[in-house]
Symmetry: C2
Subunit: 187 residues, 2 copies
């Protein structure tokens, strides 16, 4: 089984008009994604933002849970937040996992254009042997084309069986579903 980690990008991401922007960190993302990562046996959750003040904020939140009263009150949350790594860029996240020779970058998105890995193929690779895998999520309106283009693979989007034509999951929900698709127990 390969090492699997996730990265949540706050830059570069798209806004509603397709421009590249930097989004603000959402506290609940830090909690929800770390809980999903921990529940599915992932190794790291990289919170990626180039804004130093935002990295300091996330650091304070994590320190509060690692050392403060909340971690004593809810020990399970403390365990999850221990997976959080705060970095300035996607490149820094890759470097923290050992560099490009040690890790493959897989991107995610709500659209199918350019997707190179079906869920079944991705699951097969996760269960095999090889480099670590870093699964990248975008905040705001998602990852820009250049992040997809620079990745080793792009995962197929999540699709419901009832063909609603509506696909606007939160990043918290999408991250949970991909974790379950790739690392969930099958019956």
């Amino acid at each position: 089984m390969r090492r699997v980690a996730i990265a949540l990008l706050h830059y570069p991401v798209l806004d509603a008009q397709g421009a590249i922007v930097t989004s603000a960190v959402t506290n609940l993302d830090v909690h929800d994604l770390s809980r999903s990562a921990k529940s599915y046996g992932m190794s790291d959750y990289f919170v990626v933002t180039p804004i130093e003040a935002q990295r300091e904020l996330v650091g304070k939140i994590c320190k509060h849970w690692a050392e403060g009263s909340s971690g004593r009150r809810i020990p399970a949350r403390k365990e999850a937040l221990a997976l959080v790594r705060i970095v300035a860029s996607l490149e820094d996240a890759v470097a923290a996992m050992g560099g490009p020779d040690a890790v493959e970058v897989w991107t995610t998105g709500a659209r199918a254009d350019g997707a190179s890995l079906t869920m079944a193929e991705a699951r097969g690779r996760v269960e095999g042997e090889g480099k670590g895998i870093l699964i990248v999520y975008g905040t705001a309106w998602g990852l820009p084309p250049e992040v997809h283009a620079g990745a080793d693979a792009r995962l197929a989007p999540i699709v419901g069986a009832r063909a609603t034509g509506y696909n606007h999951l939160s990043v918290r929900s999408a991250c949970a579903i991909y974790a379950d698709r790739l690392l969930g127990q099958r019956e």
Copy 2:
């Protein structure tokens, strides 16, 4: 295919010590669960709280998206929030779906004790014909035994393949994963 709806209970739910409490509504739950419900073709998302001021608050949030500037700015969000139904009790949610003769109540939880439906069985039932199905989630530390006991079925918990022994997903994540397990497109 059967009608599927979800209910998020704020009472009765458990606190960390196992006492029955009423939890506060979380704005992001309203958004995330409605987006998951809409993406997977569910019919309704019941926000259940006996506190009138909290029902009014959720009503204001939904009205803001239905009629205000946010709905024009993000039309997809408006569509999702249109699934929200605000009720005072689980019984009221069942009544809104036509009463016990028209709906089965399925409960969820992080523990396996008393679970009566595997994911595969549940999926098979969803894809068949029959009454509507109302899937019930608890906030705080989850649903109390009496809610499980009063239900028609209890779903198996979500488990990861790497056997981490850690199972502390957020209700937003759990709701997304159950939606995908029961209503996601299979490859």
